[in-house]
């Protein structure tokens, strides 16, 4: 399973980077969303996908049977942060569009004297 997951993660990253390199601001934001999904799955896969039971202490379950809790803790933090970043991006896009009337990054570049 880990092998297949690795390929899926690679695919997610590829799609994310391709979107981020495009001109449209909305696509860039979608790209960052995909990127964080890929990163979360990468963390999970790194820890190993085995583990018989969820990482909640229960009677009759030996320590080695729990799924790895550390990647899960990291991912939980990452999910929340990526949400914060995505929503901030969205508002930036919204405001940029309101002020400038475009979401094309080439046009948002600014002029020579804006330095």
């Amino acid at each position: 399973m880990e092998i297949i997951m690795s390929v899926v993660i690679g695919f997610l990253f590829m799609a994310a980077v391709y979107l981020m390199l495009s001109k449209s601001l909305i696509r860039i934001i979608i790209g960052t969303g995909l990127l964080s999904h890929g990163a979360h799955l990468l963390l999970l896969t790194m820890g190993g996908l085995g583990g018989e039971s969820p990482p909640v202490v229960a009677d009759g379950v030996s320590v080695s049977d729990y799924a790895d809790p550390l990647p899960q803790a990291l991912i939980l933090t990452a999910i929340v942060i990526s949400f914060a970043v995505t929503s901030f991006f969205l508002v930036v896009a919204y405001r940029a569009y309101q002020e400038l009337g475009t979401d094309n990054m080439e046009l948002l570049k600014g002029t020579e004297d804006h330095e």
């Binding site: 880990e2 297949i4 997951m5 690795s6 390929v7 993660i9 690679g10 695919f11 990253f13 590829m14 799609a15 994310a16 980077v17 391709y18 979107l19 390199l21 001109k23 449209s24 909305i26 696509r27 979608i30 969303g33 995909l34 999904h37 979360h40 990468l42 999970l44 896969t45 790194m46 996908l49 085995g50 018989e52 969820p54 990482p55 909640v56 202490v57 229960a58 729990y66 799924a67 790895d68 809790p69 550390l70 803790a73 939980l76 933090t77 999910i79 942060i81 949400f83 995505t86 929503s87 901030f88 969205l90 508002v91 919204y94 405001r95 569009y97 979401d103 990054m105 080439e106 570049k109």
Partner: protein
């Protein structure tokens, strides 16, 4: 009293200066400042008897003990001489500045804060035994010099001169730091005393010549040696007290101090003797030659300072040559070290007074242009007398101090011809010849300075202000220095005993083991006709004749190009525009370019590391089994991703993104991560809602529908990143170098933290701060969002600074 704390006394006093300036404005702030150098001078004078007997004082203040860096004040003859110069001339200059700078019109608090800062820096340079603290103080002198040159910061020339001096001296300082680090590696210590004691072993080290050249670069830039001298003439934009203090008496002598201090280490090298003597002597000739081209009084003095510094530098080089001669103390070479220090004292005395006179002339007539001046002798008799004494001492005329040291300089140079190491027997004759020509020009420009200002025809119509004698207070310092120049002539051996010999013993420990062993006796008249006497007589004759005919040939100077200065200007211009143009080539302003850089480098660095460490690994064993559900979810995830890539409508893309998110949540369920699945479901729902909300407000965007065009470059980079991440995931899974720290959490979660849900306990207990900062990030994002939506900049005219 702790010596090392005294170094910091001026800078601590500086803290109170702005307060005194604001609160006690009626009294010139300079009077308070004067107390500092005066008190220090008196204190350092009390050290004279014990130092003159060959003793020394050490005092230490820890700075960074873990790196073995400390402030160590080490006072021997050389350090004490410089400390006395710094505080003594410092006191006179402050006294002079009280009358030079107007207490109502000038920003005295700035001026005196910089000046006191410089005093601390300079004392630190000459007393530090630790190379790193020496470097620190060294750069602090550059910075305070920068601030003082730019004191009248509204003038273009001031800012230009300040920057130029900073560029050149800080460049040299950095080179010097490199030399220091090499010395530290060679000797495994940063203490100068310990390095000197290791000198014989250091000579054979591979880094020896590198350290030598780098340290000399520091010394040459600071002491304005050829070709780095070009900053000094431009530094004359500083107020005249500063020029008198920093740019003639003290700071520019820091390079001489450095050379003197390191002579015991480097004297064994022929490169050192050649470089220091050669560059010094050439600088002396160059400076004296071009002094006559100058039209500005301070310009003449600047070039004269360059020339005199070169003279002292060359003498230090000759004193290092003494290391290579068996019976050095018996032949004339032993004069060189003594002459260097003696001339250094004389130069501080006469050049200080000359600068003050230049300042007085400027102050009382409104101009420093020597073409407009003339005939001031009867109007300013005291200034004239002082200027004459200073200039005659500089020209090497009796009965002034300069005569004695000039005579010894010639002795040292003539002695070099008898020196038969480092092919001196072939080239040695060059040294006295260059020295003689330089001395002739020194003679001419000294006369040029005095007589073209004070003699000749008075031209009142060309002067901005009617000329008159300076106020008495302003004359105190220059008159005092002029008297000193005469006194030194009559008591040279007392000066030698107390000041010069202890310093010489520190420079030439290989020749003398105590100040008393320095058996140099100074006499104005040697009692018989010597080579150097004939040379002196020839200097006076030829110099006098050439001065007489100066007006006939001075215009020839206009034909010399100003190569070095234009080289500096072009270099600055090129580095400025060049760097600008270079950054513009890659700082395009397109976010795509920046992302391309980042991702390309990510791929290159990660894959490079993989190749270097041979980290490619696929471990087929020890994997979780592949089930039907997993395959279905995976297909859904890949399918949604493809939909995003190929969708025409952005709305479809957003919904597909939501599908990806829900698939990931399902993965979490299958891989036994219930907390993650819950969180992901909630967050994904809100995200999709937010995206749609944004679309509701931006109707035009949703209407503009087009499929993303395929771009090969982007695809290549994206593919590279994808492959890299797959390899990382595989390698991370396959090669576990260390046991996971998760075991610790699993085992202790109930015992230590009393919780059952391991993930939750890790988040709120073991890694509580992470979670706190995570909340912080959320909060910041929230504030950012509110700010963007609610707040609007009210546009006002004239808000932009450049408009």
């Amino acid at each position: 009293m702790s010596l090392v704390l005294l170094i910091f006394l001026p800078i601590i006093a500086a803290l109170f200066i702005p307060l005194l300036f604001k609160k006690v404005g009626q009294i010139h702030t300079g009077w308070f400042v004067l107390l500092v150098p005066a008190a220090l001078f008196i204190y350092y004078s009390t050290l004279l008897p014990s130092i003159a007997e060959g003793g020394n004082r050490v005092s230490e203040l820890q700075w960074i003990p873990s790196l073995d860096i400390a402030f160590i004040a080490y006072i021997d003859g050389l350090s004490l001489l410089f400390s006395l110069l710094i505080t003594g001339i410092g006191a006179l200059v402050v006294l002079y500045s009280i009358f030079y700078l107007d207490k109502y019109r000038e920003q005295l608090h700035n001026f005196y804060v910089y000046l006191l800062m410089f005093m601390t820096a300079m004392l630190g340079v000459v007393q530090s035994d630790h190379l790193i603290s020496l470097y620190l103080f060294w750069e602090l002198t550059s910075i305070s010099s920068f601030l003082l040159i730019g004191y009248w910061y509204t003038r273009d020339r001031s800012r230009f001169g300040a920057l130029k001096s900073m560029m050149i001296t800080v460049f040299g300082g950095l080179m010097m730091l490199g030399g220091f680090v090499l010395l530290g590696i060679m000797g495994n210590t940063y203490s100068i005393r310990e390095l000197i004691s290791q000198a014989p072993e250091l000579v054979s080290h591979d880094f020896f010549v590198w350290a030598l050249v780098l340290i000399l670069l520091g010394a040459f830039t600071k002491s304005a040696q050829f070709p780095f001298y070009i900053w000094l003439p431009d530094a004359m934009e500083a107020p005249t007290p500063v020029s008198a203090y920093l740019h003639s008496a003290t700071m520019v002598k820091a390079g001489l101090y450095l050379v003197a201090r390191f002579t015991p280490i480097f004297a064994a090298s022929g490169t050192w003797v050649w470089l220091v003597t050669g560059i010094g002597l050439f600088t002396m000739l160059w400076g004296s030659f071009f002094a006559l081209k100058q039209k500005d009084l301070k310009g003449i003095l600047a070039f004269s300072t360059v020339s005199q510094l070169g003279l002292i530098m060359s003498l230090l080089g000759v004193s290092a040559a003494g290391f290579h001669v068996e019976n050095a103390t018996e032949i004339a070479l032993n004069y060189a070290g003594f002459a260097a220090i003696f001339h250094l004292i004389n130069h501080a005395v006469f050049k200080g007074s000359l600068f003050m006179i230049a300042g007085i002339v400027d102050h009382e007539t409104g101009t420093r242009d020597i073409r407009k001046l003339g005939g001031l002798m009867s109007l300013m008799p005291i200034s004239f007398t002082v200027a004459m004494i200073g200039a005659f001492s500089m020209a090497g005329l009796p009965p002034f101090g300069g005569f004695l040291s000039k005579e010894m300089f010639l002795t040292g140079m003539v002695a070099l011809t008898e020196f038969d190491l480092f092919s001196m027997d072939v080239w040695g004759i060059m040294f006295p010849v260059i020295a003689w020509i330089g001395s002739v020009f020194t003679f001419i420009y000294s006369f040029y300075f005095v007589f073209h200002t004070f003699a000749g025809k008075h031209k009142p119509e060309e002067l901005p202000k009617p000329a008159h004698e300076a106020p008495k207070g302003m004359l105190i310092s220059p008159v005092f220095l002029a008297i000193l120049a005469v006194v030194i002539f009559f008591i040279p051996n007392i000066v030698g005993e107390w000041l010069v010999k202890p310093a010489v013993a520190a420079i030439q420990p290989f020749m003398y083991d105590s100040p008393q062993a320095v058996d140099v006796h100074v006499a104005a008249w040697h009692g018989y006709i010597t080579t150097e006497l004939w040379m002196t007589i020839a200097i006076f004759t030829v110099g006098g004749l050439m001065f007489w005919t100066l007006r006939k040939w001075q215009h020839l100077y206009d034909r010399f190009p100003n190569t070095l200065n234009s080289l500096y200007d072009n270099l600055m211009f090129l580095s400025d525009t060049g760097a600008n143009r270079f950054s513009r080539t890659y700082m395009t302003g397109f976010i795509r370019s920046y992302l391309v850089y980042m991702f390309s480098f990510l791929v290159i660095i990660v894959l490079g590391t993989f190749v270097l460490n041979d980290a490619f690994a696929i471990d087929m064993n020890n994997t979780a089994p592949v089930g039907l559900y997993e395959i279905v979810i995976m297909l859904a995830l890949v399918g949604s991703t493809v939909t995003i890539l190929f969708s025409k409508s952005r709305l479809t893309a957003i919904i597909a993104l939501g599908a990806v998110g829900y698939s990931v949540a399902l993965f979490f369920v299958i891989f036994r991560a219930p907390d993650l699945a819950l969180t992901q479901l909630v967050i994904e729902t809100i995200s999709v809602a937010l995206f749609l909300l944004a679309f509701y407000h931006l109707p035009q965007i949703s209407r503009k529908e087009e499929r993303m065009r395929f771009r090969f470059g982007n695809a290549l980079i994206a593919f590279g990143v994808g492959v890299t991440m797959t390899l990382v995931a595989l390698a991370a899974h396959s090669g576990k170098a260390l046991p996971s720290i998760s075991e610790f959490y699993k085992e202790t979660v109930y015992k230590e933290a009393g919780g059952g849900n391991i993930v939750n306990v890790i988040l709120v207990d073991y890694r509580g701060f992470d979670t706190l900062f995570e909340i912080g990030v959320l909060g910041i994002a929230g504030i950012g969002i509110i700010t963007l939506i609610k707040l609007r900049l009210t546009k006002k005219e004239g808000q932009h600074e450049n408009k």
